[in-house]
Symmetry: C2
Subunit: 308 residues, 2 copies
């Protein structure tokens, strides 16, 4: 079989990391996949920027749409971000040309995932999005395949590393939200516009995807009740601690008599809960299945992809 | 596509549970797999025994080898147990006849996994064993597929639920090993002959499989250094607790300059370790990858498969 020829659109932290991984681990991946994965083309805004990776041997596209049209690309990796605009156009164009699409874009999938999945199915191509939920944790595969014999009773977890880092630091250092947020922004753990994270929107995107996978339902972002962590105080956390609880931003989905219930809210988590000890930038997902019982998946939310 | 016709050999706790799951979840599994999974035949010692499942519609084989020869069986599920004898004979016979094999038998795989895998490859059939390591946790799939882009730096975990139950109870109730073991035997958490569990042998089987998957090596059970938990005292656990540690039976594999190092030993685990809070009959596996960092998978070791 010939190489699987991959085009990567978006060379920010994640895209640059993926390119580095595919180059560094090329031999290992070929052994494990039985086929060579070759990055043949990339697209990004600034060609001159030094990303610490070798771009000499790959084709450059200033326009992501032209990446989708490149005859030397079999599969497109979309890491541009954003629910609409170039990311959406790229994925649609790639699918229309019969190319596989890999995306880590939860905002895009939460808004247009159903339409993209239908288009991919009609064209007989794969729409893959393992990294869109909880980064390095293979939870999409676990829900779709590993736990497929189970009816999911409940799926919940800590889905935003920025919020978890802020809440962990507030507890450990007895500091207030605004203070810790400002520091997290300096350290690069929080965006300069932190609303998507601290208001629970990013967690809601991921929860909507998890719920759709767990319950075989269409993604329903509008149906997620969302509350962020801006109003959690150091005193709330201290009182919770004294009572044997951690305050976490928890995303939870379960099927009720009235349909699918999805919510993202700060919650009191007892210390014997499987997610109570998920600290800092880590994410965790708990799946409760009728046969398997409680399973926990924990790992980095993968704000950064860097080789250890 | 026609049904996937499954024959189950061994109808003990696990085999009966699998049969129940395949019958109860038949519709869900058909939706998720795109193909109906039908149990067409079973084999067990005692036909008359009441297992709480319907056996009227399935063919009965007193001899497991005749299950492998049944023309109405496409895939054999081996749940007899034991490293040799009928379990091995069944798997060999099934593969020789070009049938897929699913087994949860870690003792068999640790001893003969390489030979069985070679035979399956030669015949173009699947040898699947997700449940052989850490029961309900889809760690085999995670290592083979989800984390395939990573070089594994270290894989370790709590691989035996009986030992973890005993150590957890010793700490919580400040009781001695022999006392807790006797109670665990009464409750059915430990076998009447507990050596395989408490001497670390079962954990060693699982570690050898994990290490082979993680490092692309042949299973090397003989290379595992094994020490069980018989000599851990209530006082050891209490002192460890005072210092901020848990005592756990930890299986660990890592690649060193001198080759693969595999060991199962009681270990002092600091409270901020991802496995420190894995308590009772739960299992946990931590994979440290060069790109993904630390990922934790936790769930029941699945001594029992029962619908919640």
């Amino acid at each position: 079989m010939g190489d699987l020829r991959v085009g990567i659109a978006g060379l920010g932290t994640v895209g640059g990391g993926v390119l580095k991984l595919l180059q560094t681990q090329a031999e290992l991946l070929e052994q494990r996949c039985g086929r060579r994965i070759a990055v043949t083309a990339v697209s990004a805004r600034d060609r001159a920027k030094n990303r610490g990776v070798d771009l000499k041997s790959v084709r450059w596209h200033a326009d992501p749409a032209s990446l989708a049209a490149d005859p030397q690309v079999d599969a497109v990796v979309e890491l541009i971000g954003g629910a609409d605009g170039p990311a959406k156009a790229l994925c649609e164009a790639a699918i229309a040309r019969g190319k596989h699409v890999v995306t880590a874009n939860k905002a895009l999938l939460a808004a247009h995932g159903v339409a993209l999945a239908r288009a991919a199915e009609a064209k007989g191509v794969v729409l893959a999005f393992e990294a869109a939920v909880a980064g390095g944790i293979p939870i999409v595969k676990a829900l779709r395949e590993g736990l497929a014999g189970n009816t999911v009773l409940r799926v919940y977890g800590i889905l935003n590393g920025t919020c978890n880092y802020i809440l962990t630091t507030m507890r450990e250092k007895k500091r207030e939200f605004a203070d810790v947020l400002a520091e997290a922004q300096k350290l690069g753990y929080a965006e300069l516009d932190p609303a998507t994270d601290v208001d629970g929107i990013d967690a809601a995107h991921k929860l909507a995807l998890l719920a759709a996978l767990a319950y075989g339902a269409e993604v329903d972002l509008v149906g997620v009740h969302v509350e962020g962590i801006r109003h959690v105080s150091a005193q709330d956390i201290e009182f919770a601690d004294e009572l044997g609880y951690r305050i976490k931003l928890v995303g939870q989905a379960r099927m009720t008599a009235h349909g699918l219930e999805q919510r993202v809210t700060p919650a009191m988590v007892p210390l014997d809960s499987p997610i109570a000890h998920t600290e800092g930038v880590f994410n965790a997902v708990v799946v409760e299945g009728d046969f398997v019982g409680t399973t926990l998946f924990q790992g980095r939310g993968a704000a950064r992809i860097t080789s250890a």
